[in-house]
């Protein structure tokens, strides 16, 4: 089911995320997905996340779909030119995969094939435009598609805590004009900033699902503050992680913080997107504590 249909029905949309393996054995990924079966509306499948080569997301989406999950096919512009992107989009439609998350993608040099050619023939905006053209029955070059046109639900990302925010809002608006129907956000740890962001994007009238990355360690929080764009973990949360080492190690602190963040922000937006980074087993508890 399309995520935006759920929003239209007045449902609070909860999604989570898994990453395909570096190999051909899907057991671990499927095991992670089972933890959240029935608790989330859909599961995002990452696309060579952080530019690290893995099994293709499309195949993983198809396996998830066959097992009764609703996949969100993440598709980046880093590794494919416009022909390959369109080919994968048509393949996804043929498999009945409806939900897409359209991304520019991290740069090649951040990953494990630093000597590869970065493609970026399209970007997240032109990719959204391209999907819209396919839905209208044409490819990007204007050639007519044979038979029935594919139908998707097009999502994209935005960083609500980026500074400055204006370039992000500019891009968000361009994405909406190009056909994007929902947004999953970068991880948010500052509800006050998120509230300000939501006030500014309200006029766009597009559902926003707030991103939550479960904090595992103090080191992870500090690393993200140093290195990850659009993420800021406030000192108060770092102190909270430091306070009880055992509790943090067991994951309890991360669970509590995540649940609290969702509670604080759930009334500001239309859903939540969990990025558990392998801690999928903790997601049901977080959602339960947050009351979603």
């Amino acid at each position: 089911m399309k995520l935006t249909d759920l929003t239209r029905l007045g449902k609070f949309v909860v999604t989570s995320e898994v990453g395909p393996p570096k190999g051909i054995n899907l057991d671990k990924m499927l095991h992670e997905a089972e933890y959240i079966r029935g608790r989330v509306a859909a599961i995002n499948v990452t696309d060579n996340q952080s530019s690290v080569m893995r099994m293709g997301g499309l195949a993983a989406c198809k396996v998830l779909k066959d097992k009764g999950f609703e996949p969100v096919f993440q598709i980046t512009c880093r590794d494919r030119n416009r022909l390959a992107l369109q080919a994968d989009l048509l393949s996804a439609a043929m498999f009945g995969i409806e939900n897409l998350l359209l991304l520019t993608g991290d740069h090649i040099v951040l990953g494990d094939h630093k000597d590869a050619k970065p493609v970026f023939d399209l970007d997240s905006v032109s990719l959204a435009h391209c999907v819209k053209r396919l839905e209208e029955g044409f490819d990007l070059a204007g050639n007519k598609l044979d038979g029935e046109a594919p139908k998707f639900c097009k999502g994209a990302v935005v960083s609500p805590c980026a500074e400055p925010l204006d370039p992000q809002l500019f891009k968000m608006e361009k994405k909406i004009k190009a056909g994007v129907e929902f947004f999953q956000t970068q991880a948010v740890y500052e509800p006050e900033k998120f509230e300000k962001f939501m006030k500014r994007v309200k006029e766009f009238g597009v559902p926003v699902y707030v991103g939550i990355v479960v904090l595992k360690t103090v080191g992870m929080a500090k690393f993200m503050n140093e290195n990850v764009a659009g993420i800021h973990v406030p000192d108060s949360l770092i102190e909270e992680l430091k306070k009880d080492k055992e509790k943090t190690k067991s994951g309890q602190t991360g669970v509590e913080i995540s649940a609290r963040l969702i509670k604080d922000m759930k009334n500001m937006c239309q859903g939540v997107h969990m990025m558990p980074l392998g801690w999928d087993d903790k997601v049901p508890k977080i959602l339960e504590m947050a009351g979603v």
Binding site: D121, F170, K177, A178, N227
Partner: protein, 205 residues
Amino acid sequence: MLITKVKTKEELLPVLSGRVLVIPCLGCSQSYFPVEEFNRLKDELKSSGANLASEVTFDYMCREDFTERRLEIYREQLEAADTVLIFSCGVGIQTFAGLIPGKKIVSGSDTFYVPGFPGFTPSEHDCEQCGECRMGLTFGICPVTACSKGLLNGQCGGAKDGKCEVDKNMACGWQRIFERMNALKGSDKALKEGVQIRDYKKSSL
């Protein structure tokens, strides 16, 4: 060797505002400068209402020291202008824009790719000779070369504290574009219109 082609009236009219100073760069002796088309375009712009208030000629605009000296000489014309319409390669435009951060710059021509020696002067600015110069929309900063992904429709999610995800010492190209736009009190309206997609045919002409 460089080949430039003047843009069309339709492309330029929406981005020209106020008093326009026209600057053709005629320095590069190997460059092909389309004089006839240049003159025709100016007539067309004038008859469509553009205020081409004055014109001065530069040469080797890509050379910062030359350009700095010319800026001194033509200070009066420059100060009087609201928009500077430049006909040069992409390196020239960026050199000029870099020297006058407070002035609205519009590129009047597209620089095409020609195999062989691609320019004249070593420069910190780069022109990929994409054949569809967008610097009139992007405030004199080239998104193709200033953004490490060559993104045409805005900043990616990878910029942190104004720096590119590829290199913490490199400014995010799109942040530079926005900073310049804000410094000029410019609008992102034209930039927001439509979806920009590269035409790679033009860069291998």
